[in-house]
Amino acid sequence: MTLDDLDRAILAALQRDATQTAAALGGRIGLSQPATWRRIKRLREAGVLAGQRLALDAEKLGFGVTVFLGVKLATKGRVSLEDFERAVVAIPEVQLVEHVLGLYDYRLRVVARDLADFERVLRRRVMTLPGVGDVEANVLLSEERRPGPI
């Protein structure tokens, strides 16, 4: 799908705040409510607007630690990939699982209450995954999401 400047303005605005109404958003970019709504609908149907993400203060909710893990499988083959994938997505503390090419086979994002809790997740849940080999952990210090090429 190709975007024009108004589509880009709509995407940028919704990235900042997805709760605003089509009327309020349209008002700011000089578009009527129905025209704004039609564009939002089109962006949704094209799969460009893929949903909404809730921004929560994880620390205030008791999740003080986020760790990114690089995981290498010890044994490879179709069966071991499937076993690993099925088991890893079922761990509640695992927020993201990416199959990657490079130094590691998978990239995981894990949340925990504190470092002791992270150690428990790592030992009991991650290190016991079928086929798991080398694991590298990096503790998240800060994070920012950028608007990207729109």
């Binding site: 893929a50 994880a58 210090l141």
Partner: protein, 151 residues
């Protein structure tokens, strides 16, 4: 600070952020007014910070996603700040994270195809200041992305 109801509401809202206060209340088993009051309080407390639209870059023709893992030159005292300021200016960088560990910074970079990635890599990424080491992980598939917290 939070009770069961707060957690229930947040769990439901995480599962579907498009829910209205009335729908949310119905799912959590409380009247709409009570649900919206609680959400208001969670906002005041800074726990509920907002909602952001998620863009599927693939639908816009960005087929390539790469995790660039950067180690910075620690001999340079301003390395972090200078590097981050420069990385923020690159439009194809969609995420910037800093870490404690073997990797200092991770950049998520998107590109239309491999040729486009190569161009971004050479003309923009390699120009970033104070890099001591750089590793790339190319995303093959995202199997699970649910950044909700296990409340």
């Amino acid at each position: 600070m939070l009770d069961d109801l707060d957690r229930r509401l947040l769990r439901q809202l995480q599962a579907d952020p498009s829910l209205t206060a009335a729908e949310l209340g119905a799912r959590a088993g409380v009247p709409p007014l009570k649900a919206s009051r609680r959400l208001g309080r969670l906002q005041e407390l800074g726990i509920l910070q907002g909602q952001h639209a998620v863009i599927d870059w693939r639908a816009l023709g960005y087929a390539v996603a790469v995790s660039l893992r950067v180690t910075l030159d620690k001999a340079e005292p301003r390395a972090f700040d200078t590097f981050l300021a420069a990385a923020r200016k690159l439009t194809h960088v969609t995420e910037i994270q800093t870490f404690l560990g073997r990797v200092d910074v991770r950049l998520n970079v998107i590109a239309r195809d491999m040729a486009h990635y190569q161009q971004i890599y050479r003309e923009e990424i390699l120009q970033l200041p104070h890099m001591a080491d750089l590793e790339a992980l190319m995303t093959v598939a995202t199997l699970h992305t649910d950044e909700s917290l296990p409340l």
